[in-house]
Symmetry: C2
């Protein structure tokens, strides 16, 4: 998954990011990653949920990762900031009915 597929959540209005994520998920085959730090984490979840409920209803959340990043502030002070990565992808048409698309069961009857 290349860098093109990452949408960083910053200080713009939520709908700007919703548009970016919806466009990316519709255009690419690799899905999209929404990344945010600190207070923007709530907005990242909003973006994901709005895309999934209103714009790309066949998109699913594949994985959510949370972690801590060390940032160096002014004067060299290091502060810990929480971060989130939300991996979204579009479920291929044939697999839409399964809850988890990663492991489609093969019936070898």
């Amino acid at each position: 998954m290349g860098n093109d597929n990452i949408v960083y959540i910053g200080k713009k209005p939520t709908m700007n990011y919703v548009l970016a994520v919806a466009t990316q998920i519709n255009a690419g085959t690799d899905g999209v990653v929404i990344k945010a730090r600190g207070k923007s984490i709530s907005q990242a979840v909003d973006v994901c949920e709005i895309v999934r409920n209103r714009f790309v209803t066949d998109a699913t959340v594949k994985e959510v990762k949370i972690s801590t990043e060390k940032l160096e502030g002014e004067g060299g002070r290091i502060s810990n900031v929480s971060s989130i990565e939300i991996f979204m992808e579009k479920v291929p048409a044939g697999e839409r009915k399964t809850e988890k698309a990663e492991k489609p069961e093969k019936k070898s009857k």
Copy 2:
């Protein structure tokens, strides 16, 4: 997993919740779930990361779920609010070295 294992993030200081989560995860065998809505989502991730990095270093994040809840406000207006659930658990002593504790690889040399 009973209701006792859920910590809801509200408007109190972060360290109050850190203490609650750390206590719960050390006491129980079933782990703990951190739940939050709206703007508190960022704080929920902070709580989880502080517990994991500073207080219960053998605790891991098992799963993170995000979803949308419909809340009825004053006058019956329904608004959508994003929510998060972070499932944490303590890794048993014997499995601490593997990155993912769910599937420890067995070498049958």
